[in-house]
């Protein structure tokens, strides 16, 4: 295996796997199988009870996400690790443009440049310009989720965690999201939970199968999803 840029993740009831830089790993499994918990442990929204999750940083030093200090995790979240939830967390009283620009503002980029970058995403996402200065809480589910993903991608994360980003979307919106994720440059490693197996086939390099809080399989989409004849 490539050592360079590799990330190894262990723990969570016998869950062990590693993901290479630029790889897209899908996690599938029935509801309650522990998929989201696993992902939230990686982002440290949940605290892991045992095991380790080793993340290799750009600077090539390795950091254990289960034991890193809160300050270190916040730095990683600001600069390297992104998270996309199932639905956009409402940012009250903030227009769509600024919801997407905010991560850049946090990094100290000026408001005009940040908005420029954000408007680039909005047009690529095919969100009507009329809506750019509207509150995303008034958007449709599909539009909201596009804003949500743009907000994560604008940071150009090295590792992007996706928690069922398409599960609440209609087929047309799902297609836009899939297209966005396919267009992400190859330096970004992605780990995502999906229910829709056709999305998995389109995006994933490898697939992890979870069942009853354990990992029961790992392989290519052909090996895992193809076998099921879905």
């Amino acid at each position: 295996m490539h050592v360079l840029g590799g990330k190894e993740i262990k723990g969570f009831e016998d869950v062990s796997f590693s993901v290479k830089r630029g790889e897209f790993l899908a996690i599938i499994g029935s509801s309650g199988s522990g998929k989201s918990s696993l992902l939230k442990c990686m982002y440290r929204t949940y605290l892991a009870d045992s095991g380790s999750m080793l993340y290799r940083r750009d600077s090539d030093n390795t950091i254990d996400l289960t034991t890193a200090s809160d300050h270190e995790i916040l730095r990683l979240r600001r600069n390297e690790i992104g998270y996309v939830s199932q639905l956009l967390q409402a940012v009250p009283r903030t227009i769509a443009l600024d919801v997407i620009a905010e991560p850049l503002l946090q990094r100290g980029i000026g408001i005009d440049d940040a908005r420029d970058a954000a408007s680039g995403y909005l047009s690529r996402l095919r969100i009507l310009e009329d809506l750019w200065d509207a509150y995303p809480s008034t958007f449709s589910g599909g539009e909201r989720q596009r804003v949500n993903i743009a907000r994560a991608l604008i940071r150009a994360p090295r590792l992007l965690l996706l928690d069922e980003p398409t599960s609440a979307l209609d087929p047309a919106s799902t297609a836009v999201v899939v297209e966005m994720l396919r267009a992400v440059n190859h330096g970004t490693t992605m780990i995502g939970i999906f229910h829709d197996l056709s999305v998995v086939r389109e995006l994933a390099d490898r697939v992890v199968v979870m069942k009853d809080n354990r990992m029961v399989g790992i392989g290519t989409p052909e090996e895992i999803v193809g076998d099921r004849g879905d």
Partner: protein, 281 residues
Amino acid sequence: MNPAPALEVNNLTKIYGSGCRKCIENTGPDHSRNVCPVCGSVVACADITFDVMPGEILGIVGESGSGKSTIVRCLHFDMEPTGGAAYLRCSGNDSGNENIFLLNSQRKRAVRNLHLGMVYQNPQMGLRLDVTAGGNIAEKLLAAGWQNVEKIRDRGGKLLKRTEIPLERMDEAPRNFSGGMQQRVQIAKALANDPDVLLLDELTTGLDVSVQARILDLIKEIRRSTNAAMILITHDLGVIKLLSERTIVLKDGRIVEMGLTDQILEDPQHEYTQLLVNSVL
């Protein structure tokens, strides 16, 4: 290189009353009380240790009487702690390696005037309500060493504009202002010296929601435009969720949990935090 904390607090303890050797071990969340059964002293907070980074908002939550306000009042020298240390490491502070609690009163005043800002829940505590809004800010600027009257007035006007107080009311006393406006004058005053550490004690409690929202947006704007380390005291988990990335949970004067705000809200470890989170959602 990792940035250094702007403020480090170690084992801060405040006991009201005579105190005895049993005070600490007989109080706290394990006993569900903060009054020492032996001597009757109140242990407002004990063994409080944390740090805050420049540009960070650290939330402190807990119910009434958990010791939240005591912490910031000790840090602002409004009251003297019984024990513990705090280090203010910011440029231009020559006491960076000294425990600020042990400085003489003159140097404490200098630290407060030059490096700290405070917003109290009750505007009466942070403002002279009968002195004009501009005068209140001038007072803080004079304390911070400003001398030129014209510059002071200019700075006062800019601060009031930033906190959305109409300029024509600069020469009016805050006593005539609404609660939300008084709070914004307090924030303008707290920002006057460009503080390295900004202490916010229940700043939106008691305000109606639309006024609250504007104040919280103002704090967000301040986070973006300054590098101040902020400590935000509140009993409202919604405020924490909106503003702070890290949170401390206090109970009976002790830290029962400290972590990333989303972890505190979604995966609370301590029984009391779980109760707190479930009471809201």
